[in-house]
Amino acid sequence: MRLTQGAFSFLPDLTDQQISAQVEHALGQGWAVSLEFTDDPHPRNTYWEMWGMPMFDLKDAAGVMAELREARKAHPECYIRVNAFDSTRGWETVRLSFIVHRPSVEPGFHLDRIEEKGRFQRYAVRRKSA
């Protein structure tokens, strides 16, 4: 099941050229771009592993693309996303985040129904194992 998190996730996967153009836009806005990866894409898992430090002071997307190549080589079976952080006062948050790499098989999630006292029902999202 295709993971849909962040921007562009309902579109076909971005090509490297398109990723580069998005990063170029983020840098143009003065945002600091960083890469993160995870093997646990649960929607509640907001803390993905950092791939190196956020890249401050970049002028060109080539640096990010080089890191992305490295990250893909090191973690071919993980999800990798690009984050662009806006440090402007009042924002101080990630302004753009999108997935740039997916594992070969996306197992998706399973919905568990948990029966509680008095036929009360709760739900849990569980990751399917690949």
């Binding site: 090509t15 490297d16 890249m55 970049l58 002028k59 640096g63 997916r102």
Partner: protein, 306 residues
Amino acid sequence: MNTHPSPTPEVEPIVPAARLDLAEMYRESEIGPLLAELDRDLIGLKPVKNRIREIAAYLLVAKAREKLGLETSTPTLHMAFTGNPGTGKTTVALRMAGILHRLGYVRKGHLVSVTRDDLVGQYIGHTAPKTKEVLKRAMGGVLFIDEAYYLYRPENEKDYGQEAIEILLQVMENQRDDLVVILAGYADRMQTFFSANPGFRSRIAHHIDFPDYEDRELLEIAEVIAANEGYRFDEGAKAALADYVVARRTQPDFANARSIRNAFDRARLRQAIRLFEAGGEVDAEALSTITAAEIRASRVLGGTAP
């Protein structure tokens, strides 16, 4: 999933008889004004300017060849600037970034100026991230490594400089489209550096040697520096400055234009204290004139001031 190959840029069909107007390309690149500015702003440096003109012409022709499908690979653009201190290596590197940007060989045209400390780490595992970080910042522009020979310390085999050199060489080779590296340093020490690191020599296409300035050129530079700061030398000061240049050249640590700039800064201090101690009213003329006394007070000319 990410198997989409990045689409190759569309190649325009080449008509065998296609013709390109070089003069037109020259105008479009707006390189002319930049070269003229270089000529005007930088005093002396004739051989350097000639080399830059050659490189600019070569790059323009390479662009034309590329358009006609005669050439497919990007020309190597890494350079080495050798010359004594204060001969304008950094200034020219800055201009070079502009020229390469106009010609479309670097995308952003900024200059990242670094020395050994910015590239080499303090402990094991520190160097690679540090060097990569600098390289990433320089991408799309020009990386200027001042006093590059410090990267290589033959006397210490555990030195981390070697690691930085290896990463640099790799990027210089594989990401030629992304950045241009300029190594700078004194001629003799760069020579030793290159003979110890043949990888560098073969990856550098253009060696530019910066000659020392002549006395006359240094005087001109002094006047330009002063004019930029809103000062001028009176006739006596000019004569004193001519003596100063001759005397300073024979002393150790002579750094061409940089020595002149420092001399100007000190003369400016002495002028300030002279006006301050004289008291009374001053006019713009007095505030902006540097006299012979301020230059003659220098220790270089047997004066007492530092």
